[in-house]
Symmetry: C2
Subunit: 295 residues, 2 copies
DNA sequence: CTCCGGTTTTATATGTATAAGAAACACACC
DNA sequence: GGTGTGTTTCTTATACATATAAAACCGGAG
């Protein structure tokens, strides 16, 4: 059966909102809440019923916030607010990082399902979607093979990444002055500088910044195939950073400097400078990745 | 339950093989047949049992081909020899071609399942895999949207295709003289010439030749991401050719000439000539595709 | 006629069941 | 001891069931 993670997440979210209003105030309509919480009215009503049952709001109409005890404000744990299908990727990647299966290892749907404590359907669905990341391969009627986090994988990944990144960077430089994307780039530059200033403590925040930056660059000229490749890169880097922790701080510091050079080149709109900065960054990112491959 | 399409296909295949030997001849072992038919021994045995039941071969060991009536040689219809999951793509694309849904149309799993006469599980699995073709998009908890065979789609597709094709062509030109791929290219050239000679009758054979040629070019420098994109192109062209039939013969004739020029450029190994021929071909392919988009 | 909340319908997410097929095991024979 | 068939076990492909969530429908009020 479908899990009620959406409801639980909405419940927590609605509780946050409710906390911020005074006792006695009227609540927004169901439709308004549905829009605000980005869920259907059906679920909003379920949340409201729960609130009423807990004595947080009045039962009649219009609904009013009531004064209530602290216990009634109990939230659902975060783990219960994510859909199973979303958890699978995490479980799967963690399994790879932990068990470090050899390239060529057979992946068994049932075994994974048992290991992760979920139904095979979900595993299958996940594997089918995950296929595009190039780390697994399907053999008809005979299961899946883990291809491994190999040198080939890294090289092939970067070959495509370089094509895409250079393409996007060139489009970026041609953006109108009036484009709001320049503002986003400025904000991102500041975020980089701030992170750099506090690098010793916050170095693991870089992974997310990295992903944001590269997505911004490609957003200058949307292309569904390029965009979808960003997911591949994000995933690989997200987990890669966890894979090789030992010089993470230093690696990230270097990467931030490269990003800053790249950002400044973009701002200068000098095509040659952009290409140089972009290539320099990719070269060093590839070298880092290659160092942690499996073969 | 799982369908027995593998068995039926193997049955037909084995019947073809059996037909070619004389009555009284001993059959290969089960293991040998398994290798030859590319299936497991379990299924080979099922086929052999069926053959025995039909009086085609002897029951004891060693198994011998018997003389039997024409009726015993009945085959399973082709439609029953493909796995359901493989049929879905066909049904789905035909649905798109026939119903011509507007971009933005909601796709309903249950409705499709009923229309195609299969379980929703399979539709879901298909949609998940099909996502990468960029024609549909998933909205969480709210089904799928058909994005349409639009101008944007064609342009984005060709942008990536051009990057990939130029890259592969360059690698191709650097292939060692001794590489067997040159032989394949020669054979493909001949196939093109032959098709051209008989273009009036065989013009629909071009679609397959097109796909073979582009795959050969990219095989010079394997890259899983590039290769996987070939599937996208093949699919689009395969169905696109069916979409706009009216000047198909002429379009294909032109494309064959472009291919020949491209092949000759590859053989010459002249980078500039290759790039020119490649771009020329892609430009015309894109123009053709654009003419049949939806908006 | 637009928005509201009550009610009903439909669709998706996830679990479970099972036949078909693959793989492993076992024993015999040359 | 390798190869062959009989037998058993395990895995995948597919169908089906059901709870949750989304969407559609509806009558009433401002």
């Amino acid at each position: 059966m479908k899990t009620d993670t959406i409801y639980k997440k909405a419940f927590n979210h609605a509780l946050d909102l409710l906390e911020q209003v005074e006792t006695g105030v009227e609540l927004p309509t169901e439709n308004q809440l549905a829009v605000q919480l980005e869920i259907s009215r059906t679920t909003v009503r379920k949340v409201l019923r729960a609130f009423i049952a807990r004595g947080l709001i009045s039962a009649g109409l219009p609904k009013i916030k009531l004064h209530s005890t602290a216990a009634a404000w109990e939230r659902y744990p975060d783990a219960e607010t994510v859909q199973i299908s979303a958890q699978v990727e995490k479980s799967f990647m963690e399994w790879i990082l932990r068990d470090d299966p050899r390239p060529g290892t057979l992946i068994n749907e049932l075994e994974l399902a048992r290991k992760f404590g979920i139904a095979t359907t979900i595993i299958r669905e996940f594997l089918n979607r995950f296929q595009r990341f190039g780390l697994i391969e399907k053999r008809n009627n005979a299961g899946w093979i883990f291809r491994g986090f190999t040198k080939d994988f890294a090289l092939e990944l970067f070959e495509v990444r370089e094509m895409y990144e250079l393409r996007s960077a060139k489009f970026f430089a041609e953006l109108q002055d009036s484009s709001p994307i320049w503002g986003d780039l400025g904000a991102l530059r500041i975020a980089h500088v701030e992170l750099l200033a506090d690098i010793d403590r916050r170095f693991h925040d870089f992974s997310e910044l990295d992903s944001r930056f590269h997505r911004l660059v490609s957003s200058a000229s949307p292309n569904r195939f390029v965009d979808s490749f960003s997911d591949v890169i994000s995933l690989v880097f997200h987990y890669h950073y966890q894979w090789r922790k030992h010089d993470e701080r230093q690696r990230n510091e270097i990467a931030i400097h490269e990003h800053l050079a790249y950002i400044d080149a973009l701002i200068s709109r000098d095509i040659n400078a952009i290409e140089a900065a972009c290539r320099a960054h990719l070269r060093s990112a590839r070298a880092t990745l290659l160092r942690s491959t499996q073969d």
